[in-house]
């Protein structure tokens, strides 16, 4: 069964149609790649799913429920997490503090508990920290937990971004160019971790330009061009599709 379904999704900025009647189904437990040339509407789709943008038309269906137009924190609460294209971190906090902050969703913050620092609050804060360390280790950056996030190397920052998304305990993870700017061995590492996340039960929707990474990781690809979903299928099938070749090589 499809966990996420886009029905005729449309987003218009003034005259510009960024996303044009896109239909798409993401099955539970798959790694789906969303590819296409720059400006083809991939990130706009992410923003529409996660509530950062209101779609002009169409629906976003999540586990059978219409979540179109819900604000981001509500969408996050329903189990959809995302990362951002230009890595987005609380730069002046440490790696650990970043993830602790992201654990926010499922731990809540009681005004009076925080203020009085009751034993229960302290105990819970300790548990949150343990969980945050675990997540950092899952992403292979446990050893830099006390370093300031803004000073970390790019690869670590990307990994930290994913760790924070995981802290919200998502069922679906939207990754926006997670390996951009990484060297081949870092890329391989990240892709391996993404596969393992999937194996642990998280469905993954991935926007990425690194075709090698996409081809080797995704089971299915959705190709976008000019805001439209031009084809869908397994990596090899997609590669031989006529419109895809046109989109990428610019033939007309």
């Amino acid at each position: 069964m499809a966990v996420l379904e886009l029905q005729g999704l449309r987003k218009q900025f003034g005259e510009l149609v960024a996303v044009d009647n896109v239909d798409m189904k993401v099955e539970e437990g798959e790694i789906r790649g969303l590819i296409g040339p720059n400006g083809s509407g991939k990130t706009t789709i992410f923003n529409c799913i996660t509530g950062f943008l209101h779609p002009t038309g169409g629906k976003v269906i999540w586990q059978g429920e219409d979540i179109t137009g819900e604000p981001p924190h509500v969408v996050a609460g329903k189990g959809i997490a995302r990362t951002f294209q230009l890595t987005n971190l609380f730069r002046d906090m440490t790696a650990l503090q970043n993830v602790v902050m992201a654990c926010h969703l499922h731990t809540g913050v009681g005004l009076f508990g925080q203020f009085l620092m009751t034993r229960r609050t302290k105990k819970r804060d300790g548990e949150i920290e343990e969980r945050a360390i675990e997540l950092l280790e899952t992403m292979g950056i446990g050893e830099v937990k006390d370093e300031v996030a803004g000073a970390l190397p790019h690869g670590h920052q990307e990994a930290l971004g994913v760790a924070m998304a995981l802290a919200t305990e998502p069922k679906l993870l939207l990754l926006d160019e997670p390996v951009t700017g990484m060297n081949p061995s870092e890329t391989k590492d990240m892709m391996e971790r993404i596969r393992r996340l999937r194996d642990s039960g998280v469905t993954i929707l991935l926007v990425e330009h690194d075709m090698k990474a996409v081809m080797s990781t995704c089971e299915r690809l959705t190709v976008m061009n000019f805001g439209r979903n031009i084809c869908e299928g397994d990596p090899n099938g997609v590669c031989s599709h006529e419109e895809v070749i046109e989109a990428y090589l610019g033939m007309s």
Partner: protein, 336 residues
């Protein structure tokens, strides 16, 4: 860490001793000046709370006025005791803050700036327009001092000085704890990366409203203390000029650390007192100080130690600098 904690403790105790001695070694006049300083410290600290989320609230002084008017009405017209009026008026200011925050929390940056100014001005206009119950331009007079306790009359400057000092200490302690808690860290997170904060499930509107309400509460406390010192209240006290002063204190001291704004208002009060013979020139001198601060110490007084350190070659890297904010938003008790 333990060491710096001891130093802070020593400084606090020293300040407390000085504060206790002040009324006995100086004149009524200076006791009164410092009482006023205490009130302004509560105000500027409550203002700083909102700056944690990145917004500068221009309605802070009118919200202080809400506390003042509320207490003037409760004690003056209803005749209820000050001790009941203090919490009630602070809550009244918080409720007005809640109403204001509903639209304001949905704006940010310049829009917030202007909208908060408009909201504050609207409130001041209400006080001037509605003679009943607010008394119009002339405001309300005959606000009684707090009732005696055990023979101590709070109509005298010295007991009132101690009352204000104790309430200030309590307010600062609460605001400090709040800023250092995970809630404070969340305010900071919203400020530093709003979209990221939203994506990890933080309801930013709710938090912005929360900080506004809490901040209004403490502004209200400052207002109550002000009105029972003056025994009267008028709309002019909460107009544009006092708001400008508040901004100058905050810019001059810096808003990144808890002590920054407190330092700002204290130093400027001292300067203001030294310049009493030149009273007419004070606004202009404040203006100069503001411009010089922005030019040479854009981080305010609180940034000076860091500056001096870098002059003497003890360079801290740029990434280490925001550590001050960091320790502010410490996420767990165990780390400091």
């Amino acid at each position: 860490m333990r060491n710096s904690r001891t130093i802070v403790l020593i400084v606090l105790v020293a300040l407390a001793i000085v504060a206790v001695l002040v009324p006995y070694v100086s004149s009524y006049y200076y006791t009164d000046v410092i009482t006023m300083l205490f009130i302004n410290i509560i105000l500027v600290s409550s203002f700083r709370l909102i700056t944690l989320t990145g917004n500068w609230n221009l309605a802070q002084v009118p919200l202080m006025g809400a506390g003042a008017y509320s207490s003037a009405l409760i004690t003056g017209s209803l005749g209820w005791p000050f001790w009941l009026s203090l919490p009630l008026s602070a809550i009244a200011a918080a409720v007005i803050g809640l109403a204001m925050s509903y639209p304001l929390a949905r704006t940010k940056g310049f829009a917030f700036f202007i909208a908060s100014y408009a909201a504050g001005e609207a409130m001041v206009l209400c006080w001037t327009r509605f003679k009943v119950p607010f008394g119009g331009w002339t405001g309300l007079v005959n606000v009684p001092p707090p009732g005696d306790i055990g023979g101590i009359s709070f109509a005298d400057p010295t007991p009132y000085y101690f009352l204000t000092g104790i309430i200030m200490a309590a307010c600062l302690w609460v605001m400090y704890r709040l800023a250092r808690s995970r809630i404070g860290a969340t305010f900071h997170a919203i400020h530093s990366q709003e979209s990221l904060a939203r994506s990890i499930g933080i309801n930013i509107t709710r938090y912005k409203m929360l900080v506004f309400v809490v901040s209004s509460f403490f502004a209200g406390v400052a207002g109550v203390l002000l009105v029972h010192r003056m025994w009267a209240v008028e709309p002019n006290q909460f107009g544009w000029v006092p708001t400008l002063y508040l901004l100058v204190w905050a810019v001059f001291g810096g808003t990144r650390t808890f002590v920054g704004p407190i330092l700002g208002v204290t130093v400027l009060t001292v300067i203001g007192e030294l310049l009493v013979p030149l009273a007419e020139w004070v606004p202009m001198i404040y203006g100069f100080i503001l411009i010089l601060t922005l030019l040479f110490f854009p981080e305010g007084l609180e940034g000076i130690p860091h500056r001096v350190q870098s002059w003497f070659g003890k360079t801290r890297t740029r990434t280490a600098a925001p550590g001050e904010v960091l320790s502010e938003g410490q996420l767990t008790e165990g780390q400091h």
